[in-house]
């Protein structure tokens, strides 16, 4: 029942959050857009041009590919590991719930710390190479190598914990009853997994995956610390251009940012209907 | 703890609606009295309570407690406490702290408030649950705590919004008994919205709302004997409705001729028959007003109520049926033809102006009495 006067109260309550978000995002996105087309130069007249995009174009293509590669690989691994972890924890007897403790330990770790940890683990001379007794020269270039292995590993590691927690939170309440009902209808363990548990977990898993994809697409510090100079993903390229001594690189930096925003928005817009449909199917 | 509550011509409309939720509502509740408010869904019962509570501000009219107007007074300062359909116990407080809430809100120290609360918890016979949490209680226990909590606010007026409708019948009966005890002990002025006519029968007076207007305000017996409109009759249940064609000196219906003082030519009326005032006799009995076929029956406690489909008469129009309450233990002769005898009827005439109804009260004993005006609240 809508409380009379509730409409206005609702708008008043929403106003501060909406105002702050709108101001910050429109100012930022607007500034980036205008800079990329030369309409917000640091000095000199504002002249519309696609110089920024054109100059950056070849690198933009490579960087976009790298970003998408990192995001896709990280999301895929995080989803698989996170979902598996959640499913395992859901089936564990309460006695063994301590298995979830490492999960809780990973969640509050900042990504930069995770990147540092991965560096110490995966680099030549790092802990893993010592455990396997492989010499530095023989150890594959996981950190700063041609493929962004360490970068993807860090994202997959941290975000698998995130996916697991999100899926657990959304399914643990309803699962016991639904599972019992399915059992009473003659469904075996595998059927329950496929027809009850997974569909129940699907909306949360999909939403979490989208969040992971968008985050890894736009993250700066992990690729900066664990990646190599070329190919670089979009955020690293943008920052490099932004802090370049050549001030003409500003529009290119902005163009890179616009590309990253564009890719994120497209990914979000493409995935949201699917998520909504999954949620509605329940 | 008893206030004198009055509503004067209260009007209210929810925003973006095209009809008033309350229209010219005038009601009075004397100190320590219990007023039951009944009516079909959407009639404005809950709106009425919320206006009295101060949760809604009326567009027109006046709400008074004693001699002061409540219109500008915030809900928490009116001396009015309200109990809702859901118990709404505060989940983070134990039972005793729940009951003590009003005192704490008034600034009393916790220990004193809890001590006073124990007394109210005793009244509802739940003293041993003082330290329990709301989630550990059953539905009936929750409502009892809610009642104790509302009383502990020591209100001048107690508002109850269908507080027992979610309980099963046995529990409801327990709560009715409890309410009687509470009224005997504290005598609060109470307004209770209810769907349950047994609950309404507990009240001193009953107000019937329909489409935002008070259609009748009287004690329950008067309501049954002289419902002011068809809506009231339908709400109470147990009335049969027959079409009455105006003829010289009265109306003709399937049960024969009903004398009435001023039948309006050309205006059909509705003849209402109480099921207790009809009886089933032999088909060929000369006292039978009409005869027909028993087509079905329903139960009302130990009695059966037979539905008799009456034989068509020239003035009755399409099939008419009448409900007849049988004596206790007598089974309904379903499928048999019977005669029907009636000891009292009411005639309602829809008037030309805006749905108001005149009544013709007719006694078979010939004493007919006519009252053409709507019964207003007893002021």
């Amino acid at each position: 029942m809508t409380v009379p006067g509730g409409q206005r109260r609702g708008l008043v309550l929403l106003a501060p959050a909406v105002a702050l978000t709108t101001m910050v995002t429109t100012a930022a996105v607007g500034s980036v857009l205008l800079t990329s087309v030369g309409l917000l130069p640091l000095f000199g007249p504002a002249t519309a041009s696609l110089q920024g995009f054109q100059a950056a174009a070849p690198d933009l293509r490579v960087a976009s590919r790298e970003s998408l590669l990192i995001a896709t690989a990280s999301t895929a691994v995080a989803l698989v590991v996170g979902l598996t972890t959640a499913l395992l924890l859901l089936r564990l007897a309460p006695r063994r719930r301590w298995v979830g403790a490492p999960l809780a330990a990973v969640l509050p770790v900042p990504h930069l710390v995770g990147a540092a940890a991965m560096g110490l683990l995966l680099s030549g001379g790092g802990m893993l190479s010592r455990v396997f007794g492989v010499e530095q020269s023989a150890w594959p270039e996981l950190v700063g190598g041609p493929w962004p292995v360490a970068v993807v590993a860090e994202f997959a590691w941290k975000e698998s914990a995130f996916v697991a927690v999100v899926v657990l939170a959304s399914t643990s309440a309803a699962l016991p009853d639904l599972s019992d009902a399915a059992r009473m209808l003659g469904a075996g363990a595998r059927q329950r997994l496929l027809r009850v548990t997974l569909p129940l977990a699907a909306p949360a898993a999909a939403a979490a995956s989208l969040i992971v994809f968008l985050y890894t697409l736009g993250s700066y510090e992990v690729a900066w610390l664990l990646g190599r100079a070329y190919p670089e993903p979009l955020p690293v390229m943008a920052y490099r251009l932004y802090t370049s001594i050549d001030l003409a690189a500003r529009p290119q930096a902005a163009a890179t940012a616009v590309t990253a925003i564009g890719l994120s928005v497209i990914a979000a817009a493409a995935t949201l209907p699917l998520i909504r449909r999954l949620g509605a199917a329940r | 703890m008893s206030g004198d509550l009055r509503l004067e011509s209260v009007g209210f409309r929810y925003p973006h609606r095209d009809r008033d939720a309350l229209d010219a509502v005038t009601l009075g509740v004397a100190p320590a009295h219990l007023l039951a408010v009944v009516g079909p869904s959407g009639s404005g019962k809950s709106t009425l309570l919320r206006v009295v509570a101060g949760l809604l501000r009326p567009d027109r009219g006046e709400v008074r407690l004693g001699d002061r107007s409540l219109l500008e007074v915030a809900p928490e300062r009116r001396g009015i406490s309200m109990m809702f359909q859901k118990p709404l116990l505060f989940p983070h407080l134990d039972v005793l702290d729940n009951v003590a809430f009003a005192d704490r809100a008034a600034g009393l120290p916790r220990a004193r408030a809890r001590a006073a609360a124990r007394g109210y918890l005793d009244v509802v016979h739940l003293a041993d649950l003082a330290r329990s949490r709301p989630r550990e209680l059953s539905g009936g226990q929750e409502q009892r705590v809610a009642l104790a909590r509302a009383l502990a606010a020591r209100p001048q007026v107690l508002l109850l919004d269908e507080p027992f409708s979610a309980l099963d019948p046995e529990l409801r009966a327990t709560m009715h008994a409890l309410l009687d005890e509470v009224r005997a002990a504290f005598a609060p002025t109470t307004v209770m919205v209810t769907h349950d006519l047994a609950e309404a029968a507990m009240a001193d007076t009953v107000a019937v709302l329909d489409e935002g207007r008070v259609v009748q305000h009287a004690d329950i017996d008067t309501l049954y004997r002289r419902p002011a409109s068809i809506t009231v009759a339908r709400l109470l249940g147990g009335f049969s409705e027959l079409v009455g064609t105006p003829v010289e000196g009265g109306y003709d219906c399937s049960l024969g001729f009903v004398p009435a003082p001023s039948p309006r030519v050309g205006e059909p009326a509705v003849v209402l028959v109480r099921q207790e005032l009809a009886e089933v006799i032999d088909e060929h009995d000369p006292h039978a007003a009409a005869s027909g076929l028993v087509v079905g029956s329903t139960r009302a406690g130990t009695r059966q109520v037979a539905k008799v489909e009456l034989d068509p008469t020239p003035h009755s129009g399409p099939t008419a049926s009448v409900l007849v309450e049988l004596p206790p233990g007598v089974p309904a002769p379903v499928g048999r033809r019977v005669g029907v005898r009636v000891t009292g009827t009411l005639v309602h005439v829809p008037s030309l102006s805006a749905g108001r109804e005149a009544r013709a009260d007719v006694d078979r004993s010939g004493e007919g009495a006519v009252d053409g005006a709507l019964v207003r609240d007893r002021q």
């Binding site: 809508t2 929403l14 640091l42 590691w157 510090e221 920052y239 | 008034a106």
Partner: protein
């Protein structure tokens, strides 16, 4: 019999998962207490607190203090704003829930580096203090989480509870103190913790908008980690960045377990 096999299967499956989550933390924990750990040793050759001494010299305590303040500032801004928005959305107080939700969730689709570089010159021209800009931007990135958490909490809470409180004589401010906040407390704490984490962990926004003067723990970590041979220092800063948060999480779990045990002892 099959349950025994299932239990064994679960135990076997659990091991790699525990390793997956715990393993990356091992090197920083070990390096944080290592005075010497040369290749190819699997465990440190000499234990010691070299890293912590270096971290102290590099300014870790003040960096952590700044990180804490930043986290608190973001929590103090994003939690009440998210709570109000969550109330309006969770209780469906307005017809514009859909549009508002979209706006409040939008920052998830905008990379922080883009926002930071986009706002940088504007902030400078407006002469806004860098730290203020950082707090505002990070709050916007924390809002989707705080709003979501509090919207869920409000959906699970009956709005009539507050109505009932007023109908027992409680003034609006007392209702806030005695009903609203206590009932929502778990969600408020979780939301504040998430917002704090956003502020505590951030790197790129602090880097760009902080003007280089806002040296938080991540900034310190970045400058150490990008060099070579700094393993103990990097490890010490890393552990320092995780320990407080872990303590809070562990404390929260213990408190909840203690409360649950305490409740069982109350006689029915």
């Amino acid at each position: 019999m099959s349950t025994r096999r299932a239990a064994l299967g679960q135990a076997l499956a659990a091991v790699p998962l525990v390793v997956w989550f715990a393993l990356p933390l091992a090197p920083i924990v070990l390096w944080a207490v290592a005075a010497q750990w040369a290749w190819p040793a699997v465990l440190p050759q000499r234990w010691g607190l070299t890293g912590w001494r270096e971290a102290g010299a590099a300014g870790l305590p003040s960096a952590m203090a700044r990180s804490t303040l930043l986290g608190l500032a973001v929590a103090c801004l994003a939690t009440p704003l998210g709570a109000m928005a969550g109330r309006a959305l969770g209780w469906r107080l307005t017809r514009h829930s859909g549009a508002a939700s979209l706006v409040l969730l939008a920052p998830i689709a905008i990379p922080p580096f883009a926002v930071a570089t986009g706002l940088d010159t504007l902030v400078l021209r407006a002469r806004l203090p860098g730290s203020l800009a950082v707090v505002l931007v990070l709050s916007v990135f924390a809002l989707p989480y705080t709003t979501y958490i509090l919207r869920a909490a409000h959906t699970a809470t009956d709005p009539d509870l507050e109505l009932q409180a007023r109908m027992l004589g409680a003034a609006p401010r007392y209702v806030l103190r005695s009903i609203t906040i206590p009932v929502l407390r778990p969600a408020l704490v979780t939301a504040a913790a998430m917002a704090f984490l956003v502020g505590w962990s951030d790197y790129v926004v602090t880097l760009v908008l902080g003007g280089g003067r806002l040296v938080t723990a991540p900034m310190l970590l970045a400058s150490s980690a990008s060099g070579t041979g700094n393993e103990p220092l990097v490890a010490a800063i890393s552990v320092a960045s995780i320990l407080p948060l872990l303590a809070v999480v562990a404390g929260g779990v213990l408190v909840r377990r203690g409360r649950r045990a305490g409740r069982r002892e109350v006689p029915a």
